[in-house]
């Protein structure tokens, strides 16, 4: 997944320097560095059980970060994902416990598969609201998604009066059992959530590289005016990225509720910040037009491994925050330095050649 930036650097290595190549592969290098560091510093770090556990943690952030990557590539931002996680968890929990009361003496209970679909639809719908605010009503993405952040969180709290939906085991006679599969189930020895991550990630990477929609996402972020004149349906592209981001958030909401077998309305607070951090660490440019799914996933792993590893080493959570913040800042500083160095190298060459 990371060989995309690495390959690009080989192509220009002839006119750049070794330094430039190293800077381009920085996320991957950072990943290897944290892996090596913790395998030495933290006992049991490399055990299979621990690696799987960490992957499950990372997967949650990676989902959100993928949705965020597309949004950021179009030049936007989605602050509402954390709240969508919370709200979707509540939707799933409510449906498992209460079903939908039709007010005529009947209550419909859905099976787990249907509940998952409804929850995903809710996530996509909230994404669509973001998209409509941004494309039709011209609200700045930051503000639109900030508003939705509050609304969705408020709705999540209202759905249970702030209480947790506990014990989502379901009742066999209503057909609502089996909700734990997403969070605790395993296929071929790996947790289900990892498999879902693999499927969604491959799909997203394919979309970015081989479909017109993917190409259009980059074009919109690179130059919206030019994209519009070239006939790209800019509004549709933006609708898609926010809906996809909502979808990713709904998946996370489902997985978390399933893992805990409970839905808590405050779930997902500040998740959006972790997702942005992973995307940026993976080389996504906040000004739009640049980014890869592969890079983002490596970024999510760097952040996830860093925090889990520090926990294993017994570093205080306060220090963890400081370290995480520094890593993000360094990543972006290196990113900027690389761009400057690269453009200076090419410009100087052209000046001498011309």
């Amino acid at each position: 997944m990371t060989d995309i930036p690495a390959k690009a650097s080989v192509a220009s290595a002839s006119n750049g320097s070794v330094l430039l190549t190293l800077m381009k592969a920085r996320t991957f290098i950072a990943l290897i560095a944290v892996l090596i560091f913790f395998s030495i510093a933290a006992p049991n770090f490399l055990s299979a059980a621990n690696l799987i556990l960490m992957s499950k943690h990372v997967a949650l952030n990676a989902f959100l970060a993928m949705g965020m990557t597309f949004v950021i590539i179009t030049g936007g931002i989605d602050l509402s994902v954390g709240s969508i996680v919370g709200l979707c968890g509540m939707v799933a929990g409510y449906l498992v416990l209460n079903g939908i009361d039709l007010q005529v003496g009947y209550t419909i209970y859905f099976n787990v598969f249907e509940i998952a679909l409804i929850t995903l639809a809710v996530g996509i719908l909230i994404g669509a609201v973001n998209g409509l605010l941004i494309t039709r009503l011209n609200v700045a993405p930051f503000i639109a998604t900030l508003g939705v952040l509050y609304v969705a969180r408020g709705l999540a709290l209202l759905s249970s009066d702030g209480r947790t939906f506990p014990n989502l085991v379901g009742k066999p006679d209503l057909g609502t059992t089996g909700f734990s599969f997403l969070g605790a189930g395993r296929l071929l020895g790996l947790p289900v959530s990892i498999w879902i991550l693999v499927v969604v990630a491959v799909g997203a990477a394919y979309l970015a590289k081989y479909t017109p929609l993917g190409r259009h996402i980059f074009a919109v972020g690179g130059n919206e005016r030019a994209a519009r004149i070239s006939g790209v349906r800019v509004n549709m592209v933006k609708m898609f990225v926010y809906m996809f981001s909502g979808f990713c958030a709904a998946v996370v909401g489902l997985i978390i509720s399933s893992e805990l077998m409970a839905s808590h309305p405050a779930t997902g607070e500040s998740f959006e910040l972790n997702a942005i951090a992973a995307a940026v660490l993976g080389g996504t440019s906040m000004s739009g037009g640049r980014g890869t799914i592969g890079g983002t996933i490596v970024g999510a792993f760097v952040i996830g491994i860093l925090s889990d590893g520090l926990v294993m080493m017994g570093v205080s959570s306060f220090w963890q925050m400081v370290i995480k913040g520094l890593v993000i800042i360094v990543a972006v500083v290196v990113d900027q330095a690389q761009r400057r160095l690269q453009s200076r190298v090419t410009l100087m060459q052209m000046a001498k050649a011309g």
């Binding site: 074009a219 100087m348 000046a351």
Partner: protein
């Protein structure tokens, strides 16, 4: 370069080069500016004049070389730096704040304040009025800039530069939107400044103008300085020779094919301006297959706006367009492209290219659906189309996967053209297709236009270059102030007639009626 006494030289550029990503704009230029004289700088579009001036004015920093101000090496990190050292500039593209008043614009960044740091608007307006008085433009200092005509805005820009009390004043095409009467006033102001010892650097395309007011002349071609002389020693022929060099403009001869049926017609296109009035004023025209219709006009005449209307970029535009006799009901750009319209926009960087994507991605951006099976882009088909376009348009690129911003201006323009052609258009709208590209690329672009018209495309192309419009068009339409003010067959068109039509509605004399034909 002549030994006219070095004490007159106030500013000197030594071996200055400026490179943008993709283009070498200025190559090892040596340039001297003299006090109390009008230093004329001339060259074709894209020769590097504006870049050279931006370097002097501190807007751009040279990639290589040094700047000497009164013998002392300086480097300006911003235009503020240059202003502090007494260098002012009238920019070609207007650098005004439309939402502020004339007085506020003139004193922007050096506001006159009272003791409590509050802006003294009354004093600003009084002083602004003095400068405006000298330009006799009938502009009040409390008017909003966005409410002014484009020519008046240019005068405000000039007043702003004059108010700096600069020792060196750079004017980049200050007359491009001025009427003849306004030009006369400007020349008086320049004579006045010259008498006070100000060094003036004057850039223009209008040779008669240069010969009239210039003292020394410097000619730029393709970023290099090709001649530097005293104005009294030179004539128009000399200037043209230095500008064009041995390789005279290659316009690609007409091949004498006869245009076919009408392929495109626009009826009564109107576009309201935000500030009131019409940017495009009841324009109707028709185009035949295989015909090149040139649209000539000055800056702000409404040519680009007309193209925008045709492409469906303005929802509030009115009027109707027809392709091959059928009315186009689609109102959005995407579907109009599918109906066979394609635009090559004037501003390559802002509207033509996605600069961080590759050459290949840019080429196929507008036509991706051609290479898609179900939802998968077939790389083979896409690459084939890219290779074919690169070859047909002679785009100089080592690898189409390169970022498009690494190409030279001319090759970037070819990419924009290639992108439009890949959509399989019936009608091609080209807005200033030769702007900012080198001589060789221009010839290629013109040759391509000829070839496309032979293949039966209808081409509408907008330009402010008289030679170009005369040499390439089968018919010539002239626009002024949003109106179509003239329509000529090539045989009957003369430069004088075109210029006269392009000035209608601009001069101090209120125009009586528009001369729009059919």
């Amino acid at each position: 370069m002549t030994a006219a006494g070095d004490q007159d030289v106030i500013l000197k550029l030594e071996d200055v080069s400026k490179v943008y990503s993709g283009t070498v704009a200025v190559k090892r230029a040596n340039f001297e500016v003299r006090k109390g004289a009008v230093n004329v700088l001339v060259g074709e579009n894209g020769a590097g004049k504006s870049t050279l001036m931006k370097i002097i004015a501190g807007v751009e920093q040279p990639t290589l070389g040094r700047i000497l101000l009164e013998g002392e090496e300086v480097s300006f990190s911003s235009s503020g730096d240059a202003v502090n050292r007494g260098i002012g500039m009238v920019f070609q593209e207007l650098n005004l704040f439309g939402n502020l008043t004339v007085a506020e614009n003139i004193f922007a960044t050096r506001e006159i304040t009272n003791r409590f740091r509050k802006i003294d608007s009354r004093e600003q307006e009084r002083r602004a009025a003095e400068f405006l008085e000298r330009l006799q433009a009938g502009i009040r200092p409390d008017m909003l800039v966005e409410d002014l005509r484009i020519g008046q805005q240019q005068l405000v820009e000039i007043a702003k530069a004059v108010s700096l009390d600069a020792r060196i004043l750079i004017m980049d095409e200050p007359t491009s939107a001025l009427s003849a009467a306004e030009v006369e006033i400007l020349f008086k102001v320049i004579a006045d400044l010259k008498a006070r010892g100000v060094a003036i650097v004057y850039i223009s395309h209008r040779l008669e103008e240069l010969i009239r007011i210039g003292d020394t002349i410097t000619v730029l071609r393709d970023g290099r300085i090709t001649g530097q002389e005293k104005m009294k020693n030179v004539d128009t022929q000399w200037i043209v020779r230095q500008m064009i060099g041995s390789d005279a403009k290659d316009f690609a001869k007409a091949d004498g094919h006869v245009p076919g049926e009408e392929i495109f017609r626009a009826e009564d296109i109107c576009l309201p301006r935000v500030t009131g009035g019409l940017a495009v004023d009841h324009v109707s025209l028709s185009l035949r297959a295989g015909e090149i219709l040139g649209i000539y006009g000055l800056m702000g005449a409404g040519r680009s706006e007309l193209f925008d209307c045709i492409m469906g970029r303005h929802g509030h535009a009115t009027g109707a367009i027809f392709i091959a006799g059928k009315k186009v009901r689609e109102r959005d750009t995407t579907r109009r492209i599918r109906r066979g319209l394609a635009l090559i926009p004037e501003d390559r960087q802002r509207e033509g290219l996605v600069s961080i994507l590759s050459v290949a991605s840019n080429l196929t951006l507008a036509s991706l659906s051609r290479f898609v099976r179900l939802f998968h882009i077939s790389s083979a088909k896409e690459n084939q189309a890219v290779t074919q376009m690169v070859r047909e348009l002679a785009i100089k690129v080592a690898d189409p996967a390169q970022e498009v911003s690494s190409l030279s201006g001319g090759n970037q323009q070819k990419v924009v053209i290639g992108k439009a052609l890949l959509t399989g258009p019936k009608v091609l709208l080209m807005d200033e297709p030769s702007r900012g590209i080198d001589v060789g690329a221009k010839a290629d672009v013109f040759r391509t236009m000829r070839k496309l018209s032979r293949d039966g495309l209808g081409i509408l192309f907008a330009t402010s270059d008289l030679d170009e419009v005369m040499a390439l068009s089968d018919r010539i339409a002239v626009m002024s102030n949003g109106k179509l003010t003239g329509l000529f067959d090539r045989a009957e068109a003369t430069e004088a007639a075109l210029v006269a039509a392009s000035a209608l509605g601009h001069g101090p004399v209120p125009h009586t009626e528009s001369h729009a034909h059919d």
